[in-house]
């Protein structure tokens, strides 16, 4: 299954070109030009990885990250930043972002980070599944009672 990526940046041309390049690398890409629009899309669909620009008009990258982590804690976020906003990207890491990349970014590096982020999401999902199975095995009655 293709890795589902949401690319969020207010620079339309940047989003269009990077989307095309990532599609050629076999990702399932959705593009978004604002934090507000991205949050709507994330509400409706499960993305594996969100690539999020730090500095955007309206809801900025950090606020968007907070909302994403509230709505979909397992979705991994990679922050994109110009050099003036590295501190903000580091703040993002503290808030649960998977990693950050400086603009202009190296596509191979981005490709690697997306794959690593997807792997971490898969690990978390597997851990949650295993914990649920373990709960069922240790006390099957509790599962029936829950129902």
């Amino acid at each position: 299954m293709k890795i589902r990526v949401l690319l969020v940046d207010d620079e339309e041309e940047f989003v269009r070109t990077l989307s095309e390049r990532l599609t050629l690398r076999d990702y399932d890409i959705t593009a978004s030009l604002s934090g507000d629009d991205a949050l709507q899309k994330i509400k409706q669909y499960n993305y594996d990885v969100v690539i999020l620009d730090v500095a955007m008009p309206g809801i900025g990258g950090i606020d968007a990250l907070r909302e994403i982590k509230k709505m979909k804690p397992l979705t991994e976020v990679i922050m994109l930043t110009g050099h003036g906003t590295v501190e903000t990207a580091i703040e993002g890491m503290k808030l649960g972002a998977f990693d950050f990349l400086m603009k202009p970014c190296n596509t191979e590096e981005l490709d690697t980070k997306i794959k690593k982020a997807r792997a971490r999401k898969a690990e978390h999902e597997e851990r949650i599944r295993a914990a649920k199975v373990s709960d069922i095995i240790s006390s099957p009655r509790s599962v029936l009672e829950d129902d």
């Binding site: 620079e11 070109t17 390049r21 050629l24 008009p57 596509t107």
Partner: protein, 222 residues
């Protein structure tokens, strides 16, 4: 007096830093787009190596996209250059239209980040005054920063230049949120120091959702 000059210098450095940081961010964005276009060209070439034919129209579109970004970067750098040269002469004759337009161009990205639009209404004829170009730009930015806070739900700040009998003025209009702001914080010390040096006056008119900066025709003859 020393303290006042220190405040003016500090305010000036902050202004210079704010503007150059915003300019460098814009240039980074342009470089990022050029980088992706060049990368896409490389991707297309690699695919051609594997036998997929290259579409000339696609190459043309990519070349045009790069040229568009180079033109955008050129405009940004030209404005940065104009801004840098505003410190060449401490006092000189300027067209207030040019000065205001440059501050607006440099501030557009910062306004957009706050979800706002700047709408300059410039006079068709030059509005000449003799002033300190850099300090005037600094003062206009401080006023604009305040005006953006006062824009209210309309989200547009109108700026208009006008000739007056004693010099010129800039009106910051359409500030629907002006009445809601605590006016005891504006003008603050930094704005008052610049007003003194520029021989200017600030008149706030909450009833008409605007404030006016009145500038002397000649900074030395005020």
């Amino acid at each position: 007096m020393r303290d006042n000059l220190d405040t003016v210098a500090e305010t000036g450095f902050q202004f210079f830093g704010k503007m150059t940081a915003s300019i460098s961010h814009e240039i980074k964005n342009v470089l990022a787009i050029i980088n992706e276009n060049a990368g896409l060209l490389e991707d297309i070439t690699l695919m051609a190596d594997r036998g997929r034919p290259i579409e000339p129209e696609r190459l043309k579109t990519l070349a045009q996209a790069v040229m568009k970004q180079i033109s955008r970067a050129d405009t940004i750098v030209k404005n940065m250059n104009r801004f840098a040269h505003s410190t060449d002469e401490s006092i000189k004759s300027v067209d207030l239209n040019d000065t205001l337009e440059l501050v607006v161009v440099l501030s557009n990205r910062l306004a957009s980040m706050r979800g706002l639009e700047l709408d300059p209404k410039l006079q068709k004829t030059p509005v000449k005054i003799r002033t300190s170009p850099f300090l005037l730009m600094n003062f206009i930015w401080l006023c604009l920063d305040f005006a953006m806070d006062a824009a209210g739900d309309r989200k547009i700040v109108e700026l208009a230049t006008q000739k007056t009998e004693t010099g010129a003025q800039i009106r910051f209009r359409g500030l629907e949120g002006l009445e809601q702001l605590p006016l005891d914080t504006f003008p603050a010390e930094r704005e008052r120091n610049l007003l003194n040096i520029l021989g200017a006056e600030l008149v706030v008119d909450t009833k008409n959702d605007e404030f006016v900066v009145k500038l002397a025709a000649d900074i030395d003859k005020d």
